[in-house]
Symmetry: C4
Subunit: 206 residues, 4 copies
């Protein structure tokens, strides 16, 4: 038996673990939205309405984080469409990347509660920066290990994947910079992430 071949794994279970962690993290984000404490019966409607209005920043952060995680999931899916098999390095890079996916419900919860303060949103921004860096690393790795790539995927496609994550790193760094001056607004930059992920359609230059 070929010693290298044996350690290389199919992608099926890595994708299953990743889908599970993405799906669960995306669902856990909802715990960041607070249920009001026991409200007295008199004026309950008024108090509930006020509570819902106060939830606006939490709902915005939930929406933003769900869409950003959805974007990264799409990127992960495209990534694994290019990959024929995984080796140990790729597997560990994946597990570490998923660690920052699973951390996002915590940092998002913090940002939902303390969105007006730099220390409330900085953890989420650093979290997203690290996510971008891990996926950038994954694309770089498979570009330098073409034996892991499916034959029909050319290097140009993989390079596009790397470039997109480079853009995400730049966006995250600008957001971190802005957080020193306008913390509450710096997260609006992440609206660009789904568009970055969708852009270019990974098409071959022909």
């Amino acid at each position: 038996m070929d010693r290298n071949k044996e350690f290389d794994l199919g992608t099926g279970r890595v994708e299953a673990l990743a889908d599970g962690i993405f799906a669960f993290s995306m669902t856990l984000l909802v715990l960041a939205i607070d249920i009001p404490e026991k409200i007295p019966k008199a004026d309950a409607n008024q108090a509930l309405l006020q509570h819902l209005i106060n939830l606006t920043p939490q709902l915005l952060v939930y929406t933003m984080a769900f869409i950003v995680l959805g974007s990264f999931w799409m990127g992960h899916q495209k990534h694994f469409q290019c990959i024929k098999r995984v080796d140990g390095t790729l597997l560990w890079n994946n597990i570490l990347g998923l660690m920052f996916v699973a951390l996002l419900p915590f940092t998002t919860n913090l940002a939902g509660d303390y969105g007006d303060y730099q220390m409330g949103i900085l953890p989420m921004e650093i979290n997203l920066l690290l996510l971008g860096m891990f996926f950038y690393g994954e694309w770089s790795y498979i570009i330098s290990h073409p034996e892991l790539l499916k034959k029909e995927i050319d290097a140009w496609t993989a390079t596009r994947g790397k470039e997109k994550n480079a853009t995400i790193i730049v966006v995250s760094m600008i957001a971190i910079g802005l957080s020193f001056f306008i913390p509450a607004w710096s997260t609006t930059l992440y609206i660009s992430i789904p568009f970055i992920h969708m852009s270019g359609r990974y098409r071959s230059p022909k």
Copy 2:
């Protein structure tokens, strides 16, 4: 490589993410049911019985939300049985639809705690309305993009799927209207959703 073909994805991982988010959201609904605070030993049986009786509205809302999510999951399953492959628009529509699936444990929790007040149940009713609208949009999109459909699925079947979600939208709107007058009873309308999903059996007219 065909640039359009490359971006189109198989449906396997979208279904895996959707099954994950549906399964977790359905299981997270249980967190809406309160465990009693530390009850003193004297008369614990009596106090627990009273607590369980007080849980009735939470258990009813749990049952209703579980069955409604189960119905939407069945609709999602049928939807993807018609689809051969997904494009970017369908993928994003799906992720946004799943965002409202994952939000339902929050709005259901609110409805379980404050079911007697319009502001307690309105968020859940709007949530279900938006779910119906997203799935309506999905069916509309694949009807106008027959290249995504499996050949053996005729347009009539897809039109039925669209019509069912139109009915869900109408039911949700009536429930929202009723919530202004009889909030506690307006949710009973959702009992119809499983029957709407089951009706007609998607059969071809021959």
Copy 3:
């Protein structure tokens, strides 16, 4: 297109949803085990040890519930090994059965906190009774609808599956009866459930 055939579904996604709900419910059971409140630094070791000793009933209930859910999952797996395709009735029976799977983390949590009182453990015992009844119903249904069965599965195998769930119903009923006299000990009967599930090995009589 055959109108009946169209609504019948493969078993893949039903199994995926069931595996998700079983896995998530089994993992959520852990939330029933309490983390100690902030303990002062002096004598922290002693206080933690005392807390861990006090957790014994919660750990026992966790172990019991995990193994019972694992047994039901094994039963579900065997059930679907016999099934070729699902129809609407089977799908709904499944969703309702999974509703009681997802409810178990709540009733188990209650039993862990109030295991000495009948009202603390009765909800869990009724929950397990209903689980047994739903799976009994599923086996009964496929026995009377042999067109859903795989050809290689004879009726004898399916009858064994039904009989096992009948035994679980009887065990649950005895446990409920005992809970009126010895609540804390009535749950020990559930130790028999894994053995019931394992017994007989579903073998054909030849």
Copy 4:
């Protein structure tokens, strides 16, 4: 029908349940990281920064537990790559092993909160010891039941899997011994687990 063959199961759904429980347990670890209680607006930045600094032990424990669970998941994946089919013993061993996977979010949470006390970290260390023992048992079992093994996997590969888990057991026992003297530092030994899992690459001696 062969009575033995019938009970033996394919590995698909066992892997699905395992992937689900691993994914959820890894994601639930994040709940061990505390969100600060309502912080007053004055000096919120300062208070948040202090809170984040205080979270350091929880973040370290989260990272450690995530990587250790990732290592065990990799071991599980390799284990099932060797297995052609499962029997009842293997299935139950798996369910019991997964019970200790699902328990880790609790013991990790305890270690994150009370990492300076032996009674705070001992439960996690015993948990990991038991995990190592169950996986050791699984490898031992398939070595003595070669009919469950895929033909192309030779006994040497399986023996390596058993040896690795024996090493994990030894590491856990040393950590437990150290916890009597230096509790806060005894967990650092677990850094070796990913390296143990990666080592040797399961290669055949040829």
